[in-house]
């Protein structure tokens, strides 16, 4: 044992020395272009050119980042609670996180879809998906608040979401995990009966009116894994393309069993046709249970509504809705070029990037150019739909974006690079390393009909030595490249928040002048709003005590409260009376089993407090609001349940 240990040590030392002598140390991925700094430098007081809305992955948020600087402006909580502003903690916001499973305080937000009109960004909304407990969310780009969340029934692993149609008619939600659906009896089946009993679903969610998201129809499909999707645009508007894997229908060790076939499929869906069937009453109304949460702008209060049915179309019964296009090796990204003609499949285990032609697809459908069937449905002939293949582009192609100048950029996870290729000629023209193992990549406007082909950002999965190390867990790295010229140039390397998957970016000029600065007090319809200091009061309703409190530089009204008894539930309804940009007030009270609330000017937020002992407890403003912020405080006295202390409140007395 001892000997062998020594031997091993010796071997390691020898090998190590050899390795060291074999390569000269160099700075990997350091920028050698002297003007890179000036290209990302945004002088103090100046603005970035693009807003980059970045998914937060397992942190459940969206980040708002400036490009080209890489500076983070905001974290927008979507599917996860956010102590910073009380999202998911305040009485008003809790309902946003309601689901049919109850309150779910976390999720995994993977993809961003920005609203579009005629295929171009219109700066109204950002949509995001919840991967774990399937949901989609809308974020208003004038307030950067989550204003709507819709749960998706009959879905598991909402990964293939929330990609959007060219006029924001629909966002989609398709199931990564197929599961048994239907009534309790249909759902309680052995896992080994995957092939017979498990189904995929693809939901088309009407999304063009705020507060009114609803599932227009849900396609029921064979049990496969849906991965990603893109809507057609221009000539292919009316179609949607979904990548699938595990068409082997394995239910265990997918690492091996889902990679058996040479080709999986891109499922092309004619959603306009599906709409016609729905209009003609062909949809099957099925029982379901899912929640729709909306935020009322005027009161700031979120409410949840339970929905109990969904309209389904089984694609097997409507053969002209969906067609299967063979695509090599577990395709991940399926991306449509700005003209709408080409659909790029990225088989993550494939040695080629197939590029399909929409025109050829229509022709193949018309001439029934099939190479077989899948679960009884026609599979189009690969060669008949294919424009051609990009041969040996790199290893592990995942996603493709476009620059609007005839080039596509594909991320290569395994070979850690971004590869630029000519869409017409299908030839690789340049490649640039990423640090390391790039996942998604993004060109501002990349998925639209009008990409701004100036920058490209790579969102990497592996960080290792890119920044000063911070223990085992490292921030995910992103790299910004200049793609305005022939060669891809690395400009900047910056850390991100959570785990970014997809991101989008839009010109700052589209939204920067539409930002809400505060909420007009006169429009506040919160039932507990207190619109002037004189209107402050306290009401006892049995064990519930409602404090109608105001905050304004630099005091709360009232700031002294007595007469609370053990067993009471105290609701601090705090209205921020300010009507001034960037003057939120916070509120926190000792021992509260929740987060602070952060109240925007003109808004009302409620913090619930259940005192657990007798005493006098302080509360204070948590946001450094003014020169007298540290004076912005108060006391609340709690007496025994049997006490006779009467309910009194005061300010300045």
């Amino acid at each position: 044992m001892k000997i062998s240990k020594l031997f091993n040590a010796g071997l390691i030392v020898t090998v190590g020395l050899l390795a060291l002598s074999g390569c000269k140390p160099k700075a990997p991925g350091s920028v050698d272009t002297g003007d890179a700094a000036s290209k990302v430098y945004v002088a103090p007081g100046k603005y970035d050119e693009f807003y980059n809305i970045v998914s937060g992955g397992f942190n459940g948020q969206m980040s708002v980042v400036g490009l080209p600087s890489g500076r983070v402006f905001k974290i927008v909580p979507v599917f996860s609670v956010h102590p910073e502003n009380g999202y998911g903690f305040s009485e008003e916001s809790k309902a946003m996180l309601n689901t049919s499973h109850g309150f779910v305080p976390w999720d995994d937000l993977h993809h961003i879809a920005l609203s579009v009109t005629n295929g171009e960004h219109d700066g109204r909304w950002a949509f995001g998906n919840a991967n774990n407990t399937p949901r989609v969310a809308r974020v208003d780009l004038t307030t950067f608040e989550t204003t709507e969340i819709l749960e998706i029934p009959n879905s598991a692993g909402n990964h293939s979401s929330p990609f959007i149609t060219a006029n924001s008619e629909y966002i989609v939600a398709s199931s990564r995990f197929s599961v048994p659906i239907g009534d309790d009896k249909s759902r309680d089946v052995p896992i080994s009966t995957y092939k017979e009993n498990f189904k995929g679903t693809v939901s088309f969610i009407r999304a063009d009116k705020e507060g009114e998201m609803n599932i227009a129809f849900q396609l029921v499909t064979p049990g496969v894994n849906f991965d990603l999707a893109r809507a057609g645009k221009q000539k292919s508007h009316g179609w949607f393309f979904f990548s699938t894997y595990n068409t082997e229908q394995a239910h265990t060790l997918l690492e091996v069993n889902a990679s058996q076939k040479d080709k999986d499929f891109i499922m092309a869906v004619n959603w306009k046709k599906a709409e016609e069937y729905i209009k003609a009453g062909k949809g099957k109304v099925t029982k379901a249970k899912y929640v729709h949460n909306t935020l009322d702008h005027k009161s700031g209060i979120a409410k949840s509504t339970m929905v109990d049915e969904v309209i389904q179309l089984n694609i097997k019964d409507f053969p002209d809705i969906a067609y299967f296009i063979p695509c090599p090796k577990s395709p991940h990204g399926t991306d449509v070029d700005p003209t709408g003609e080409y659909i790029v499949g990225s088989g993550k285990l494939a040695a080629v990037i197939p590029v399909f032609s929409f025109t050829k697809m229509l022709k193949a459908i018309e001439s029934k150019d099939y190479e077989g069937t899948y679960d009884g449905m026609p599979v189009l002939k690969y060669e008949s739909v294919l424009k051609g293949e990009v041969v040996k582009p790199g290893l592990g192609p995942l996603h493709t974006e476009f620059d609007g100048k005839g080039y596509a950029y594909t991320s290569m996870f395994v070979s850690s690079e971004v590869v630029k290729w000519d869409i017409e000629k299908l030839e690789v023209v340049d490649r640039a390393p990423t640090y390391y193992s790039v996942g998604h990549l993004m060109v501002p406007g990349g998925p639209t009909t009008k990409p701004h082909g100036k920058y490209l950002v790579a969102y990497n999965k592996i960080t290792k030595d890119r920044y000063l190390p911070t223990g085992p867990e490292l921030a995910h790295s992103a790299q910004l490249y200049d793609i305005s010229g022939e060669k891809i140039k690395l400009l900047l390397d910056f850390p991100t928040i959570g785990e970014p998957h997809y991101a989008e970016a839009l010109p700052a000029s589209l939204i920067k002048d539409k930002q809400v600065k505060f909420y007009p007090l006169e429009e506040n319809t919160h039932p507990y709003a207190t619109k002037s200091p004189e209107a402050s009061k306290i009401e006892r309703k049995g064990k519930e005590v409602h404090v109608y409190m105001t905050s304004i530089r630099s005091h709360f009204g009232p700031d002294n409260i007595e007469g609370i008894k053990l067993g009471d539930e105290v609701y601090f309804h705090v209205t921020n009376l300010e009507q001034d940009w960037d003057v939120p007030h916070g509120f926190a009270v000792k021992g509260a089993n929740t987060a602070e609330t952060l109240i925007m000017p003109g808004a009302t937020q409620t913090l619930k407090w259940v005192p657990d002992r007798v005493g006098v407890f302080p509360f204070y403003c948590t946001d450094f609001c003014s020169a007298l912020h540290q004076e912005m405080q108060g006391y609340i006295r709690v007496s025994p349940a049997s006490s006779n202390v009467s309910l009194i409140y005061s300010l300045g007395k």
Binding site: A43, P44, G45, K46, Y47, D48, E49, P507, A508, S509, K517, F518, P533, I552, R553, S554, E578, Q579, D580, W581, V583, C625, S626, A627, L628, G652
Partner: protein, 185 residues
């Protein structure tokens, strides 16, 4: 707020402030890819939606042009555009006119900037003293470090004997319009 303000003006029977106009305090167009930053402080923030701050209110008042000139000369515009909160005693033009001849001209000279600042800072308190807590005999320690004494008889308010002619609640505090310049001893 505007309504309250109008009522107060009516009560005191003087028209002190012009309606809040479009003046936005030296805004700069900070659009993308603009030239070098201007170096303006908070007074340069482009914002024509928020409630007006004490400086914007003073600037909008024809009866406070001397005060505004003095505040600009002393370099206090950005300071008073801060979140504050402030209580500002704002002497009307006539109050400056009543000073011995040549006083204002002298104070506005560059070499007297610190003296001017001292006087102006004597008119500012950090904190908001709204009428409800404006009490007779109350002293306020002003920004320049010296105290003023408030007076109140019924609804009539004074500061160091100067009469309060009206008041305006502002985003970052309150402005009391007064009929005399307060001079620190």
């Amino acid at each position: 707020m505007k309504n309250n303000f109008n009522m107060i003006l009516l009560f005191f029977g003087v028209v002190l402030f012009a309606a809040c106009g479009g003046e936005s305090g030296g805004t700069t167009d900070q659009s993308v890819s603009e030239d070098a930053p201007t170096g303006l402080g908070q007074s340069g923030v482009p914002d024509d939606e928020s409630a007006r701050n004490v400086v914007q209110v003073a600037i909008a008042s024809k009866d406070h042009s001397t005060l505004v000139t003095a505040v600009k000369t002393a370099g206090l515009v950005d300071v008073l555009s801060n979140v504050g909160p402030f209580t500002v005693f704002a002497p009307v033009n006539a109050a400056f006119d009543a000073l011995p001849s040549g006083t204002v001209e002298s104070l506005l000279k560059p070499e007297n900037k610190s003296k001017l600042s001292d006087i102006l800072e004597y008119h500012v308190y950090v904190g908001v003293i709204r009428p409800a807590i404006y009490n007779d005999g109350m002293t306020l320690n002003q920004v320049n470090g010296k105290n003023v004494t408030l007076g109140k008889q019924g609804d009539a308010m004074t500061v160091n004997g100067a009469k309060v002619l009206g008041y305006v609640e502002c985003a970052n505090g309150i402005v009391y319009v007064i009929d005399k310049v307060l001079l620190p001893e």
